[in-house]
């Protein structure tokens, strides 16, 4: 995140650009009408994509805004998924309760882990987060009695307590009411994230990203800002993990594996880490493209690897930089 790359487009004062709101309107609009224009298969894919998007909004608070690349963010996905598994196994099927518990669990993990990780920057931060995610992975993988080992834990589908869905079958719930519940959650969490990055705290994060020393001189409490960003990112990651795990119906250790963390970063990069809506676009495109590719070829990783290389080398600012040329929503 050299200064030259991220500040290429001068920031436009908000309110002056009438069309700026077209970006989120079209983006969320596509998610809103998706169950009507596509079949259940694609709707469920978009369901997962919304879960990933929530997690990625958190990841990008660290990467795009604070300049810290977490390479172990999948640990929070797993936190959310396993929370869902434990609660649904104990007959707590209220999705609201599960989301709140996942957020609490993520906070409990993110505070101590964050305190250690934020002592480092650059590549070392990434390595340390990777180490912690692998610690969680090995715990999930090896402690069979508690975590189900490599088979993971089954998840019974949770439903929002607000709605009575007892008459519908699983598929109808997933592609209907639950889809819109998650969509509402996505919009609310995106809005909260926007308020966060648009606040004085968010400005502090950007100042840290651009120049830590200067930020310190200006009175930004660098370490505290980093820690708060890390915890928020962790909570978003766990909330995303809950959503991602629901259509799969299973919480398994691979959710915490480092390759999963790499894929998360890949999604953000695909959408564009320099844009607020990069995570949303990245998650949707990654999930849909992966699904399409897997039906055509068993060598989808090769294609994805080449795609990632092309993005990294030629389009490091991702697709949102092309969509949002004026940089209305740039980080």
């Amino acid at each position: 995140m050299s200064a030259a790359e991220t500040t290429a487009a001068p920031p436009v004062a908000k309110g002056t650009a009438k069309f700026a709101y077209a970006v989120p309107l079209i983006g969320f609009g596509v998610f809103a009408v998706f169950p009507y224009i596509a079949g259940p298969h694609y709707t469920i894919l978009m369901f997962s994509a919304m879960g990933f998007a929530i997690a990625l909004f958190g990841l990008n608070l660290l990467f795009g805004y604070t300049g810290l690349l977490p390479f172990g963010h999948a640990m929070f996905l797993a936190t959310g998924a396993y929370t869902t598994a434990y609660l649904t196994a104990s007959k707590y099927l209220s999705l609201e309760l599960i989301l709140l518990t996942a957020a609490a669990a993520a906070t409990v993990i993110a505070v101590p882990v964050g305190l250690l990780c934020i002592r480092y920057i650059k590549i070392y931060f990434g390595m340390l987060t990777l180490a912690f995610s692998m610690l969680l992975y090995s715990f999930l993988f090896k402690f069979y009695q508690i975590t189900g080992g490599d088979e993971g834990l089954r998840i019974k589908m949770p439903t929002p307590s607000l709605l009575d869905l007892s008459k519908l079958d699983t598929l109808a719930i997933l592609t209907g009411p639950l889809y819109y519940f998650v969509f509402g959650l996505l919009v609310i969490l995106a809005f909260i994230m926007w308020r966060i990055v648009d606040s004085a705290f968010g400005l502090g994060l950007r100042a840290i990203r651009e120049n830590e020393q200067k930020a310190k001189y200006l009175g930004v409490n660098v370490q505290r800002c980093r820690l708060v960003a890390f915890v928020i990112a962790g909570i978003y990651g766990a909330l995303g993990g809950v959503i991602v795990a629901i259509p799969v119906g299973l919480a398994d250790p691979s959710l915490a594996y480092w390759v999963q963390s790499g894929n998360l970063v890949f999604m953000v990069l695909l959408g564009g880490y320099t844009n607020f809506f990069g995570p949303l676009l990245g998650a949707a495109l990654f999930i849909l493209f992966q699904d399409q590719l897997m039906t055509y070829t068993e060598y989808w990783r090769l294609t994805f690897g080449i795609l990632l290389a092309v993005i990294v080398i030629f389009f490091p600012n991702g697709l949102m930089a092309i969509v949002d040329r004026r940089g209305w929503w740039s980080t």
Binding site: V265, E298, A309
Partner: protein, 294 residues
Amino acid sequence: MLSGVNILVGGAFHAAVLFLVAGGLQIVFGVQKIINLACGSFYAIGAYFGISALAWAFKLHLPVATFIPVLLGSGLLLALVLGPLVERVLRSIYHRDEHFQLLLTFAFVLMFEDIIRMIWGASPRQTENIYQAFGEIRLASGMNIPAYNLIVIAVAIALSLALGWFLQSTRFGKIVRATAENAAICEALCIDVSKVYMAVFTLGVALGTTGGALVVPATAASLDMGVELIVDAFAVVVIGGLGSMAGALIGALIVGFTRAAAIWIYPEFEMLAIYVLVIAVLIFRPRGLLGKFT
């Protein structure tokens, strides 16, 4: 007593292989400041290529004694092809933020996994009877240890000594170390840094591929062996200290024996023990046991 010796030898064998791969990671990081996630992939592809090389050696009815040189040669050959190729792609973003270099090596991890799948298929591959062909060494009655493990340990020690001599005493080794210290000054002294980078990266790849080739007579080659090993290699460099070759050695020994001991005492802790160690090192000695960086 028998299991004790076996665990020691098993730990040393694991440490020897880990040292090679982590050494490749270290030398690339030390000189080019790139964390090469693909070093595990080079290890995996080295293993598969080693199996093919052994099959070829089998067909030519080469004696068992030549298998080690055949494996080493296959690793080196593979590195000479892959190293410059991958480095050429990485070179395009040397000027960029280090996050992108990390991500580009992750792209290679994805690519290599499918390249291996294309060439060698998805099911694990194994060499038959070669491990046994090296025979066993009898320490006392009922205490046999496989000779192949000892050979690999010896080869790794020899390679580490050769590498140490190369870096400390040869002219090119001194240039490599100078480039690691300050690439800009080296450039000013008319050293072609881009050539040094290519050579160093290829050397790093060679350590990975040779490590992979040496391991195949003892274990099967599988598609996920690369992504699994990188996790261990990572632990090694964090414990030993990023960018330090001596650190790679110490780290590999610690990780190798910790793992062996954990398997012996309490198998559930196999990986957990290593990561607890990693985090302990990061808390109490952030730059690693022998690291230079803060």
